[in-house]
Amino acid sequence: MNSYSMTSTLLKMKLTKVTSMVPSTVHQTSPHSIRVTRTPRPIRARFTLVTQAMSFSLPDLPYAYDALEPFVDTQTMTIHHTKHHQTYVTNVNNVVAKYSDLQGLDLVELNKRIGKGEVPSDVSTALRNNGGGHWNHTFFWKIMTNPSNTSGPGGKLKQAIEASFGSVDALKEKFNAAATTRFGSGWAWLVVTPEGKLVVTSTPNQDNPLQAGLVDQAGTPVLGLDVWEHA
């Protein structure tokens, strides 16, 4: 890509207010670096070159593939991350590449628009499945850690859980029930609802609570569990 088209891409991204490609709470281990080049010519408003907009990429796991043993084995983590999650990334990028309106959106915003039906209708299902799948798995890797490092929730989270469910054990019971009764493929979630309540819910396939309008219970996920058989 020559420097002019890179500039045009960057300018375009500036106009559409680019934020990070993953939710703001995620620490990106490999941030995209943007380089601005100067051009002596005035910038045209329309570009005839097909610009390569920033695309989503598969985030690295926050830990090694064997870090979750013996609870999740190395082979499962490897296939789950390098095959299943990668496929969602590849597919969502293929869709986004065809629509300039979708380019430059961060992943959370993309999922919210999917929920509101504010995406092109001929690719809404592909976006729902793959944009959902990419966010879900990015979130999932982050909220897990190696077994020796978990000591239960503390502080404000523990208080909120106790206020909403009575106890951490009661939350686990509800969450487990949501996970085991989700028929077919899907996810179980603990979310903060728009009204500020902590609620357990589940979604089918790769739907997620950010996609308000498509799901039974919208909200911001705090915990999620992949209950697809591949997990």
């Binding site: 296939i79 095959k83 299943h84 496929t87 299902t125 499945n129 028929f183 077919g184 493929s185 899907g186 089918p204 396939n205 790769q206 697809w228 058989e229 591949h230």
Partner: protein, 189 residues
């Protein structure tokens, strides 16, 4: 006279571990759970198909639907497989496939695409619908009989059907399926 080599146990269509899980655990659980759900109720008097229709409840399925339909789906699935399967259909079925799809290969392509594109869990089907052959894909436990169609052949594309042998590679699983289809069991009405 020289001794003949011993007879051999014929192979299963899938590795035994797959059967131990798919038939021994998944299918068995659907049957057990369904029986538990209908125990002591009038539903016990219904045939499996009647139970499926009733619990489908015109598109608002009741809890027993998933177990009842999955019970039938799996039974139907096993019956259409054979370790000596594969080859081609013949007679009226072959003619009907040629008429509807153009060729057997074209049919396999379309059936395979249905299986590959059923997002999440589900099934691909060859059905008789309104006197013609058609291909369907359904999510989760849904069986085309709920729409008054007659299944002729099915392929389970829930991940549990292929994960042990093919992991994420559903298309490879679908390709291999054609070596296992028992065309004698695929009967036009």
């Amino acid at each position: 006279m020289a001794p003949r080599a011993a007879h051999e146990l014929p192979p299963l269509p899938f590795p035994i571990e797959t059967f131990e899980f798919h038939w021994g655990k998944h299918h068995r659980a659907y049957v057990t759970n369904m029986n538990n759900q209908i125990q002591g109720s009038d539903l016990e008097k219904l045939s499996l198909e009647e139970l499926i229709h009733k619990s489908w409840n015109n598109g608002e399925p009741t809890p027993v639907f998933n177990n009842a339909a999955q019970t039938l789906n799996h039974t139907f699935f096993w019956e259409s497989l054979s370790p000596n399967g594969g080859g081609e259909p013949s007679g009226k079925l072959a003619e009907a496939i040629k008429k509807e799809f153009g060729s057997l290969d074209k049919f396999k392509e379309e059936f395979g695409a249905a299986g590959a594109t059923q997002f999440g869990s589900g099934w691909a089907w060859l059905v008789e619908a309104g006197g013609k052959l058609a291909i369907r894909k359904t999510p989760n436990a849904v069986n085309p009989i709920v729409n008054g169609e007659k299944p002729l052949l099915t392929l389970d594309v829930w991940e549990h059907a292929y994960y042990l042998d093919f992991q994420n590679r559903r298309p490879d699983f679908i390709k291999n399926f054609w070596n296992l289809v028992n065309w004698d069991k695929v009967r036009l009405g």
